[in-house]
C-alpha cells in the first residue's frame, strides 16, 4: 500500500513490508476488476512529486484516476480516503494531465475501489471531484 509518509526507513520493517504486500495484492485485484469492466490500465503506481496515483485507466472517452483502499471492513476503507488524500490525488492527476495532454478533453473521473478481505471489491464511480 502506498504511503505518503516519506520517512527514511533503515531496513525492511516487517510490519510495513506486510502492509506493502497486502496493498499490492489489493491493487492487483482492483486492476483486474477494471480490466473486466473493459478499461485499459494506462499506469500503475504513477509517481509524482506530490503523491502517487494507484491506477490510471482509460476506456474510450473516459479517463479514470483510481485510489485503491484495502481494509478489513469496507466502511473503514471508505473512511480512509480523507479530504487530504483527495487533494493529493487531484494534485497528482494534474501532473498526469500535464504529461499526457491528449487526456485533457476526456471525461475525467476520480474513482475509489475498496478491497476487503476475500470479498468482491467495491467500485465507487465518481467518488469525489476536483473542487475539494
Amino acid at each position: 500500500m502506498p504511503s505518503d509518509r516519506r520517512k527514511a526507513v533503515g531496513g525492511p520493517d516487517p510490519a510495513r513490508a506486510a502492509a506493502f504486500r497486502q496493498g499490492l495484492s489489493a491493487e492487483n485485484r482492483a486492476a483486474l476488476l477494471l480490466i473486466a469492466k473493459g478499461f485499459r490500465i494506462a499506469a500503475r503506481r504513477f509517481k509524482t512529486p506530490v503523491g502517487e496515483l494507484d491506477i490510471v485507466a482509460r476506456r474510450r472517452q473516459t479517463l479514470l484516476f483510481v485510489e485503491v483502499k484495502a481494509r478489513a471492513r469496507s466502511d473503514d476503507a471508505a473512511e480512509a480516503v480523507t479530504l487530504r488524500q483527495q487533494k493529493r490525488i487531484v494534485a497528482a492527476a494534474q501532473y498526469w494531465l500535464a504529461s499526457h495532454p491528449g487526456d485533457y478533453t476526456k471525461y475525467i473521473r476520480f474513482d475509489v475501489i475498496l478491497v476487503t478481505g476475500w470479498g468482491f471489491p467495491r467500485h465507487i464511480a465518481g467518488a469525489f471531484d476536483a473542487e475539494c
Binding site: V90, A93, Q94, Y107, I108, R109, G126, D129, A130
Partner: protein, 512 residues
Amino acid sequence: MVQRVSTVAFEGIDARAVDVQVQVAAGMPAFHVVGLPDKAVSEARERVRSALIASGLALPARRITVNLAPADLPKEGSHYDLPIALGLMAAIGAIPSDALTGFTVLGELGLDGSVAPVAGVLPAAIGANARSEGLICAAACGPEAAWASPEMEIIAATSLIQLANHFRGTQVLARPQPKVREVEANPLDLKDIKGQESAKRALEIAAAGGHNLLLCGPPGAGKSMLASRLPSILPPLTPAELLEVSMIASVAGEIADGALTNQRPFRAPHHSASMAALVGGGLRVKPGEVSLAHHGVLFLDEFPEFEPRVLDSLRQPLEIGEVSIARANHRITYPARFMLIAAMNPCRCGHADDPGFACRRGAPERCAADYQARLSGPLLDRIDLTVEMPSLSAADLMLPPPTEDSRTVAARVARARERQGQRYAQLGLTDVRCNAQAPATVLEEAAKPDRSGLVLLREAADAMRLSARGYHRVLRVARTLADLEGTETVTRLHVAEALSYRSLAEEARRAA
C-alpha cells in the same frame, strides 16, 4: 457550449435581470459558481447536485462553470437553484436547449428534487412580463405570479421531474390562477366600544383622510381596542395599491400560499423594535415595518416606550412617504406611505389626567411632562390628530351598546375618500388618493376656508404659534372634515374642530 437561463436579482422591490450562464467543458471534474454569489447562492451547487441525482440524472464528469451575469452585482437568496439546475439539464440534454428561452426562472431546490417557494415572485413576474418573458417558479408561488398579467406564460411545478416532463410534453402543467386570500369576517367591530365618542370620531377622520392619530389616555381606556378596529372601517385597497402592497410583502416573503388580499395592512410592532426592524435594513436590506404598512396602518402602542432614536427615524418616511436605506453595498428606496396610529399613557403611572390622582413621583404634571418629553417635537408636529381618552366609568359600561357599527362608518369613510380621489384626479395628481398625501401647494387651493374660517385660522395660528407644517396639517384635517360632511367649502366649523385636535399636541410640544 454555453447554456443561458434568465433570472432576477432583487434591488428593493425592483427585479433586475440576471443571466445564468452554464458551461460544461472538458477538464478536471468540478462545479464552480462565480459572479459574486453570497453563501446561500454558492451552496446552491450542493442542492443542485443532490436534486439532479434525486431526479435520476448525474452530473457529467466535466468541468462545470456557472456564471451569474452581470458579475459585479452581488447575488443573494436561494432562488438561483432552479435556474442553475435547469441550465445544467439543458446543457446535458435532459431538456431541449431552446425550452428555456423566453422564460425567467426562480425557485429553490430541495435535496429530493422538489421546487420550494421563494420570496419576491411577484416583482420577478412583473419584471419578466415587462421584458415579455414567461416565468418558471414553484407551484406554491404560482397563484402569486399569475397576478402579474393574465396573458403571460407561467409554469409552476412542484419538482424538477415535473418540469422536465412538461418540456418533453408528456405531462403539461396548467397555468396557475390568481388567488385571493379568503377574508375571514372581521370579528372586531366599532360597535363593541362603549363611550369614547370623541375618540371614535377622531378615528373616523383619520381613516377618511389618511391622517396620523395619537391616542392618549390612562390604561384600560380602550386605546388598543379602538386602534385594532381601524381596519374594519378602512376602504379596501384599489388595484394599483394592491399591487404595490403585494410587491413589498412578496419581497419580504410575507405572502402565504401565493394569495393576495385587498385588506389594508395593519402592522403593530412591539415597542422593543429596533431601527432596522422599523425602517428596514439589515444584511439583505429588507423592507421594515413602515414599508410593510404601505397604504395601511402602522400602530405603535406604548408610543413613548419606543427608543427615541427609533421613533425619530420615522420622521422622514412620515413626511415624504418613502424610505431610502443606504448601506455599504446597497442603496434602496422602499415606499412607505402609511397612517401612523400611536397610543400612549399620559405618564408612566398612566393616571396623570385622572382627577384627584396623587402621583408617587410628586406632582402629576411633572411626571407627565417627563414622560411626554421622550417624544420629540418634530415627531409630534407630524401628527394631525391628538385625542385624549378619559378612563371609562362603570356607568358608561352599563350603557346599551352603540347602534352605529363599522359598516356604516366604513361607508362614510369610503364616500369621503372617493370625494378626495376625484378632486386630486381632476388636478392631475393620480398618485394622491387622500388629503394626507396632498402636497402643500395643492392643499392651499383645495382646502381654502371661507372668510370666517380664515379669520379663525389666522388668530389660532398666532395664538398657538403653529409651525408652517402645523398650519398645513390643520388645513388638511379641516378639508377631511368637510369631505366627511360632503361639502365643497371648508367652513369655520371645520377649522375649529381641526384646531381642537391640534391643541393637545401643541400643549405637549410646549411642555417638551
